[in-house]
Amino acid sequence: MRVAELQSSRVAEEQSRRNEPPLQLRNSATLQLAFIGGIYSNYHALVATLDDIARRGVDATYFLGDLGAFGPHPDRVPALLRERGIAGIQGNYEESLSSDASDCHCGYTDPRDNHYAQISYDYTFANTSDDHKRWMGTLPREIRFIAGDRKFLLVHGSPRKINEFLWRSTSPEPFLDKLLRDHDADVIVCTHTGLHWHRALDRNRHVINAGVIGRPANDGHTNVWYTLVRVSNDHVEVEFVPVAYDHHALADEMRRERLPDEFVETILTGWWTTCLEILPAKERAAGKW
């Protein structure tokens, strides 16, 4: 059985240009994949996540974009991802940073959200090296592969827009069914919203929001989340993995960098304080603010 096969020629080309290894296959019928959503410059969480992934003997790891945002020292995350040769895609942050854009194109509509998004972006832009920005420009916008017999499509926001928010409570099954059909996929993995969820559709099809490791999931807990997917033939199993990390160290660094107190509060309390007007009713009701 050919368990994994790169489908998109553009991605294959990109990956070979970056000398990335193809999916490493273990001698096992089940393939285990790890997906890391928005990292938001949370280097400490990335280190903890990669350690956890390494302990589990995962076959392949992908990042899904938005390497920078709320956190400090935005060069650390791309440096580590590049050093480890981890494959991934652009988020709206990478698209903006690599094209000298004046804002993050996060897709917010409320002035309160945009106010804090601009602070994040300006700091990240000013503190990201040109070399990393150029590398971000070389990242693909999507990755396709086959695992088991499932066609995977990795995107940042949605298959149709890099900054589209796929929230659980506003992504009903008929809509997801259409996305999967329109984009010729059995499994879509995305991020961008900051909240992880999974909907299983008929015929073993799935849409998975991998969540983020950049900030907690607005649930009053300080841990962050990445996603493991186990695939065997047409069977797909999804596990959201909580990751504890040294969030106090992160908070200290954020303060030293004079990032807003509101950002620090989110890291220390697990409740979102900014960029939450975009939340739909159900997700908004679940948080403290």
Binding site: T170, P174, K178
Partner: protein
């Protein structure tokens, strides 16, 4: 040559459940809804269910209910119950008919669904005087009662304010509105500012569109098109399916009888199109 806008995807389905029937007659209403306007009629639960079936086939993402005043439709709660089995729903209301029992039931419907239910309540001023000047005498007090009932039921509405409320576009104006919302006990105040369309009653209150107020582009890129809601919505009324919730008094804006009839591009030739384009307006929350 007028630019046409393609339907990139039918994400948002608007349903005018109350027709043009409303319990008030706001001076800025773009379709002049009132207690006597029966230009478009109410839509029954059975008709909504037929539209939901059509929408499921087309992969619609979200449903918006408007009027007139949606809660004048006696089936409104049943309509929401049916809709929330299929996707997220938003109701645009003037807030006057939000009785305690209605709000309690809305909360139950919201809790029972996997999808979001949003209630959007219109305010048009910072106080009774400015609000009632647009919406009618005594309306402010009734809306205040409705908002308190929502708060008691634990429903956090989106408050929408049109630019008829002077100063709402400034930071100070927004802050003032957020304070008003907080004072009702909503600790997570949600506010959306809406543009006015110079059609219907608003044409008399201020002025009609000038001839130059039209979209000048001869064509739009998909990115430009995606900023306009008509690239991803349609509006169902008792008369058929229209391009958007604004243009339902334009005969040519009726695109067909079924949703599948209306998936073609639409010419952006109206003054209201100019407002959406210039202001970056979307009626969506």
């Amino acid at each position: 040559m007028t630019a046409s806008i393609p339907l990139l995807a039918l994400d948002t389905l608007w349903i005018q459940v109350a027709g043009t029937l409303c319990n008030i007659a706001c001076t800025h209403c773009f379709i002049s809804c009132s207690p006597t306007n029966d230009s478009h009629e109410m839509i029954s639960l059975a008709e909504v269910e037929r539209r939901l079936d059509e929408a499921r086939e087309l992969g619609v993402r979200e449903y918006y209910f408007t009027g007139g005043e949606p809660f004048m439709n006696r089936d409104m709660l049943s309509i929401l119950e049916a809709t929330l089995r299929q996707g997220p729903a938003t109701v645009l209301t003037n807030g006057m008919l939000l009785r305690s029992e209605t709000c309690r039931r809305l909360r139950e419907l919201s809790d029972a669904s996997d999808y979001s239910l949003d209630i959007r309540v219109s305010l048009d001023g910072f106080d009774a005087e400015s609000h009632d000047a647009i919406r009618g005498r005594g309306v402010w007090d009734k809306v205040m009662t409705g908002l308190r009932n929502l708060a008691d039921a634990g429903i956090n509405p989106v408050i929408t304010v049109t630019t008829a409320a002077e100063g709402v576009e400034t930071n100070e104006g927004r802050a003032r509105f957020l304070d008003i919302i907080r004072n009702f006990g909503f600790t997570k105040p949600r506010l959306k500012v809406l543009s006015l369309f110079r059609i219907g009653a608003e044409e008399t209150r201020t002025r009609a569109y000038e001839e130059w107020e039209r979209i000048a582009n001869e064509s739009l890129t998909d990115d430009e098109a995606s900023t306009l809601q008509c690239s991803s919505c349609r509006m169902v009324t008792s008369k058929g399916v229209y391009v958007c919730p604004i243009l339902i008094e334009e005969p040519e804006a009726k695109m067909g009888e079924t949703l599948a009839d209306t998936l073609r591009p639409f010419p952006l030739k109206y003054g209201a199109c100019h407002t959406c384009w210039v202001d970056g307006v979307t009626c969506r929350t």
